[in-house]
Amino acid sequence: MDFLRMKDRHILITGGAAGIGRQTAITLSELGAKVAVLDLQEEGLKETLSMLQDEGHSIHTVDLSDIDALEGLIVSIVKETGAFDGFVHCAGIVKNLPIINYKYERLHKIMLVNFYSYFEIIRVLSKKGRFNEGMSIVGISSVAATQGAAAQAAYAASKAAMNGAMRCLAKELGEKGIRLNTVLPAATETAMYTEYMALKAQMKDTEMKIAPNPRQYLGMNAPADVANAIIFLLSPASRKITGVQLPVDGGYASC
């Protein structure tokens, strides 16, 4: 039985040149979906494309912090490849700094990529003719949205902003049959996590250890663990689930 029914569904994915975004694109292609993958990293995008199954996918190099350019880009992708059944916002940047070093422009840059571009793409996509019936939108938030950690204020704020907006948009766009949810991963084996741990090791002057917090007692996430949750929320199997924050955190938030 085809439980997820993703065949021929058209999904827009940001941040698809690596990590969770890339894995989401790959798994979706294996399920028969067609993906349009956005990222700033052209080489990584090409590599992702080479890993996708079957034809009909597209890649687009874009700087998501250039908010004003996004409408034109999305409209051209829709013209070229058709309306969308789903949107996954995996693009995200993290910069861990003590608050004294967090000048406005640094904070703003993080908000641009992690949050404003998510918001703008939803605004543009939810116009008539750009989405198909039952579109599902999944944002990658983070456990950082609900749990504090030193030096993570900007990242955490951007991820919490996404959850706040998501709950409102779920109500507002529910009238159009569009669903919105977020997933909240804890530590996941990605380049971003490796960089974060390297920085942490540097700050604490301890040996760098790629190991999740003991509270993440089911162990470190693989990108596929997060991608699977995203795809469930994209699929019609979850058609009555909207406005929800789903932790994918190996138990982190439960204790």
Partner: protein
């Protein structure tokens, strides 16, 4: 000077009033001018509650909170003998630690009766008649961070506290016409006899180090919990209802 937390003229019923948090609550409420009436499990515990407010009259009653059916006649008698209440604080509670595989129905039932059923029953009986509980009165129950955070061996306790919080969110709807407010307080570790027992058993253990690291504002003193209870009982919080206030020293942020 105007004290927004002044409780002068308010009559407050307190269960578990001889315990660590309960006796601190008796002390703090009397200090703010309230009249308090104590219920606890034994004469000895009632005595501890009365000793917390020397020079004040603290009528005391003994009750077994597991015998939920016996609470209705008791509460009626307390109201007949003391008059109408403006507030109620449920501090009575047990926090057993028990491995899950040894947690039979009866081990869950006990904590549910004391921590949860007795609270619902006392509120029901108190609010059933206007001469037992004043319109605009305030009710506070002790919940715990266990209501939202899991720990091994704490299944029954956590379930009872989560049940309490969920019930409160509904009860406020039932009692809204009379403007009766209900809130809960969710502490993490509090410096009571229960915590001292834990320290004796687990000194220098990873469990203790985890508490020290995550509860970085330190373990709460019973008076600090009592202050929040007093705040929720007072007119300073006339528009706060149906909520649970975390007092966890930072645990859930870390």
């Amino acid at each position: 000077m105007n004290n927004p937390m002044d409780l002068t003229g308010k009559r407050i019923l307190i269960t578990g009033a001889g315990g660590g948090i309960g006796s601190a609550t008796v002390r703090v409420l009397n200090g703010l001018g309230a009249e308090t009436v104590a219920i606890d499990i034994s004469e000895e515990a009632v005595g501890l509650a009365q000793a917390a407010a020397p020079g004040r009259s603290v009528p005391g009653y003994v009750a077994d909170f597991k015998q939920v059916e016996e609470l209705e006649p008791l509460v009626k008698r307390i109201c007949d003998e003391n008059g109408r209440f403006d507030g109620f604080v449920h501090c009575a509670g047990v926090a057993p630690m028990r491995p899950f595989k040894m947690t039979k129905y009866e081990n869950v039932l006990g904590p549910m009766q004391i921590n949860f059923f007795s609270f619902v029953e006392i509120v029901r009986v108190l609010t059933a008649k206007k001469d037992r509980f004043a319109d605009g009165g305030s009710i506070v129950a002790m919940s715990s961070i266990a209501s939202v955070h899991g720990k091994p061996t704490k299944t029954a306790y956590s379930a009872s506290k989560a049940a309490l919080d969920a019930a409160v969110r509904c009860m406020v709807c039932d009692l809204k016409k009379r403007l009766i407010r209900i809130n809960t307080v969710m502490p993490s570790w509090v410096n009571t006899a229960m915590y001292q027992k834990f320290l004796d058993k687990y000194s220098d253990s990873p469990e203790l180090r985890e508490i020290e690291e995550r509860q970085y504002m330190g373990v709460s003193e019973p008076e600090e919990i009592a202050n929040t209870i007093a705040f929720l009982l007072s007119d300073a919080t006339k528009t706060i209802t149906g909520t649970s206030i975390l007092m966890d020293g930072g645990i859930s942020q870390g």
